[in-house]
C-alpha cells in the first residue's frame, strides 16, 4: 500500500490532483470544494487558516516543499517552462537525420539509368550493358523468366523505359521461347555506323 508523502506511517488514500503526491486522510484538502489537493498545494491558504496547534505541522510541510524546489535545478525548471524536453528530443532527432543524410551522401554516386550520361559516354554499348544487367536481374527475380518486352523493366529495374541513348528509338529485344534466352540488339544498326551488336542470354556481347 502506498504511504502518505507527509506521514510515512499512514496509508495513502488520495492523490493530489495538482502535484500527484499520495496523501492520507489527514492531509487531504479540498480546493474550491471540487479538487482533492495536498497541504503543500494549499499551503498559503492553510497557513492563513491554521491555528497555533497546527503551525508546527505546517512548517514541516513548508520545509519539505522548499527542499523539493531546491532539488529541482534551474535547467530543469527552464526545460519545463518551454517544453524543453520535447524541444531537446526534436533537436536530437534532427541531428540523427542529418547524420544519416551525411552517411548516405558519402556512399558515392549510385548507378542510375541515365540516357544522357550514356550518350556522353559516346557508345550505346554501355547503355546496352546496363540494361543487360537489369534483364538478368529481372530473370533472377522471376524464376529465370526473361521479360516479355524491355518496358517491363520499368519502373522496378530502370528509372525510365529503355530507349536508345535518350531518343525515341526502341532497342530490338526478343525472348527466345523454350531456350531460356533472349536476343537484344540495336535497332537499324546501320544508323550508328557499327556492325550489328547483340547480346546473348549468357551476358556475352557479340558483333556480327
Amino acid at each position: 500500500m502506498t504511504k502518505c508523502y507527509y506521514h510515512p506511517k499512514e496509508d495513502a488514500l488520495y492523490e493530489c490532483s495538482i502535484c500527484g503526491k499520495s496523501i492520507c486522510g489527514d492531509c487531504m484538502r479540498f480546493l474550491d470544494d471540487e479538487q482533492v489537493v495536498c497541504p503543500a498545494c494549499t499551503l498559503e491558504n492553510a497557513i492563513d487558516l491554521a491555528d497555533d496547534g497546527n503551525k508546527e505541522y505546517l512548517d514541516r510541510v513548508h520545509q519539505l516543499h522548499e527542499d523539493e524546489k531546491k532539488h529541482e535545478s534551474k535547467f530543469s525548471k527552464a526545460l519545463k517552462l518551454i517544453n524543453g524536453y520535447l524541444l531537446l528530443s526534436i533537436v536530437l532527432l534532427l541531428a540523427v537525420n542529418m547524420y544519416i543524410s551525411n552517411y548516405l551522401g558519402r556512399a558515392g554516386a549510385p548507378a542510375t539509368f541515365d540516357p544522357q550520361m550514356f550518350k556522353l559516354l559516346g557508345d550505346p554499348v554501355t547503355e546496352m550493358s546496363y540494361i543487360l544487367t537489369k534483364i538478368l536481374r529481372y530473370a533472377n527475380d522471376h524464376d529465370g523468366n526473361f521479360p516479355e518486352k524491355l518496358d517491363d523493366l520499368f519502373p522496378d529495374y530502370l528509372e525510365k523505359p529503355p530507349r536508345v541513348l535518350g531518343t525515341e528509338e526502341q532497342y530490338s529485344y526478343a525472348p527466345i521461347k523454350g531456350e531460356e534466352g533472349f536476343i537484344f540488339n540495336l535497332p537499324h544498326a546501320d544508323r550508328f555506323g557499327y556492325r550489328k551488336l547483340y547480346v546473348t542470354a549468357d551476358g556475352i556481347i557479340k558483333t556480327e
Binding site: S17, L93, N97, P110, V125, L136, L197
Partner: protein, 144 residues
C-alpha cells in the same frame, strides 16, 4: 509552477514533429544498413579493377579505352568470366570485345555484392564498369 494536466496545442505540434522525424529516420535505417556494407563491396571493386588493368595491359590498351566491363556469373558451374568492351582503335572500325576467365590472374573472391544472398537462376551480373569507375548493380549505395 503548477504542473499542467492535458496537452496544449504546442505539445501536440511538438509530438507531431517528433513522430515525423522518427518516421524519417526509421525509413532510412535499411539504407544505412546497406551502406554499412559498402566497404566489403569495395574489396570486390578493387579485385575487379586489378583484373581489368591486367586485361588492358595485355591488350596494350588503356583503362580509358574501356567502354564497359562486367563479370558474368553462371549458375550451372561454368567459370565466371569478365567481359571487357574496348572502344574501336583509331585505325579500326569495330569495338574490341575481350572475354577472360575471372580467375586467370589468381584467386578472386566471388564478385557478388555481400548483401546479395540469392542463388541466381540464370546468369547474373553484379558489377559493371563504366564512366571510369565500378558500380554495384545490386545496391545503389555501393558504387565507388
Amino acid at each position: 509552477m503548477k504542473k499542467r494536466n492535458g496537452f496544449t496545442i504546442v505539445d501536440i505540434l511538438f509530438w507531431l514533429i517528433i513522430l515525423i522525424l522518427i518516421g524519417q529516420a526509421a525509413a532510412r535505417i535499411d539504407d544505412v544498413y546497406q551502406t554499412h556494407y559498402r566497404f566489403l563491396c569495395y574489396e570486390n571493386h578493387t579485385a575487379l579493377d586489378k583484373l581489368l588493368w591486367n586485361v588492358c595491359s595485355e591488350q596494350q590498351r588503356e583503362v580509358w579505352d574501356v567502354l564497359s566491363a562486367y563479370p558474368v556469373l553462371y549458375p550451372d558451374g561454368r567459370p565466371a568470366q569478365l567481359v571487357v568492351i574496348f572502344k574501336p582503335r583509331v585505325d579500326e572500325y569495330e569495338r574490341q570485345i575481350v572475354i577472360e576467365p575471372l580467375h586467370r590472374w589468381g584467386p578472386i573472391e566471388s564478385p557478388v555484392c555481400p548483401l546479395d544472398h540469392r542463388t541466381p537462376a540464370t546468369s547474373s551480373i553484379n558489377y559493371m564498369f563504366y564512366g571510369g569507375k565500378w558500380h554495384c548493380m545490386y545496391n545503389k549505395y555501393h558504387s565507388e
